[in-house]
Subunit: 233 residues, 2 copies
Amino acid sequence: MTTPAQGLHSHVLATLGLAITAGEYPPGTVLRTDELAQRFDVSRTVVREVVRVLESMHLVESRRRVGVTVLPTASWNVYDPQVIRWRLAGADRPRQLRSLTVLRSAVEPVAAGLAALNATPEQCRELTEQALGMVATSRGRRLEEYLVHDIAFHRVVLVASGNEMFARLGDVVAEVLAGRTHHHVMFEDPDPAAVTLHVQVAEAVRERDAARAEELTRQIAVGALQELDVLAP
Amino acid sequence: MTTPAQGLHSHVLATLGLAITAGEYPPGTVLRTDELAQRFDVSRTVVREVVRVLESMHLVESRRRVGVTVLPTASWNVYDPQVIRWRLAGADRPRQLRSLTVLRSAVEPVAAGLAALNATPEQCRELTEQALGMVATSRGRRLEEYLVHDIAFHRVVLVASGNEMFARLGDVVAEVLAGRTHHHVMFEDPDPAAVTLHVQVAEAVRERDAARAEELTRQIAVGALQELDVLAP
DNA sequence: GTGACTCAAAAGTCGTACTTTTAATTCCCG
DNA sequence: CGGGAATTAAAAGTACGACTTTTGAGTCAC
């Protein structure tokens, strides 16, 4: 565990970040830098750099004469991809998966609508290609290959929307899709209805039919939420 | 400028972060830690800590034998409240304001729908109160007071949705609302139609009418986008 | 009991010395 | 003349120790 470490900093950061997001240190817990330095067998310099990063993610707060205090979940930067990855890897994967899926259900339909208005011909082509790839790999336990197309598809939609905030959710969506595939929060083969919907979204975008792209994507989202309800209690 | 600085770290971070997000260093620009230390008249230790934080925001990348390279906008953590604040304060406020408003238009309607299902009686009360506050301050150049209620209103909706990802957008929405008020990307008095819509959203939530709450919030969002189109070219 | 004073713990800052990685240059051989 | 291997040096990474600053907490006088 705790990553092989190419760089002391990364190693300590990953270990501490994971531990905190996993709730191993309840909010209010106080850590001391030299204690941490000793524990990880690194210099205080390294620990301080890690603490500064953790602080920028609002996972901890550092105060003189007090120490490094672990902050409550409510103040965490939950949009930080790093934080998301830690949480998906740790104890509250279910909770995280659910809240991210709800977020997707809000954002992706709107993004698809915008993509229908803004997508370049190249993006349309790419979208169609990925949708076909999904069809091709949708049967026969080829989940890994399917996942690649699925991720690529959603990423293109988000980028094609032309909104940078949406585009940056590509990584988050990728994490969610990968997470649910790898942790079996998904049926053995993808839902055929979902596959069809993806193909239709690609069509709608190609035909510049924003309303249809939005509505179809909304249906995909609803499906994803239902699947989550069924497979993750 | 450059903040009074309570702490060297904060000062250097704020200055550098602002400069980078303002585009003062084009992507690919290489900085050296010693040079920065000299420029800010602080030790390399401080600079290194700052660089680590900037690195965690994906504003820069640090490589041995190369230096600290400024990364292109596309890789920035645009959801980091700190980054958002810097960008709103700097050169690309218009772009940032627009993309954030689009994000709001996707998220808030869904959040309102969920709020209608999940809001506590206390949250309903709070919502109504803020809506009434908006009505009371909607005329006679009382924009500052209006803003307070507006922010509080949207924050309650997001929190009441019960989704932590939505809840954490409260700060972002606050920044957007404050930004457009303070930089006159808004009419002199709030749009009366918008005020009414807020009151109706509060009603809909109180009556657990999710579909209506969602639709009304969508109308608020559409209004905000139109206002932006009119006032920010 | 309250307020001013003192103390000490912990983070913050600094300077320097040393290690490691790696881009770039050199140099040798085919 | 070209390409690949060895060399070099530049910059980040790490460590350590000394010192400063802030501030919670305990103390003492009133």
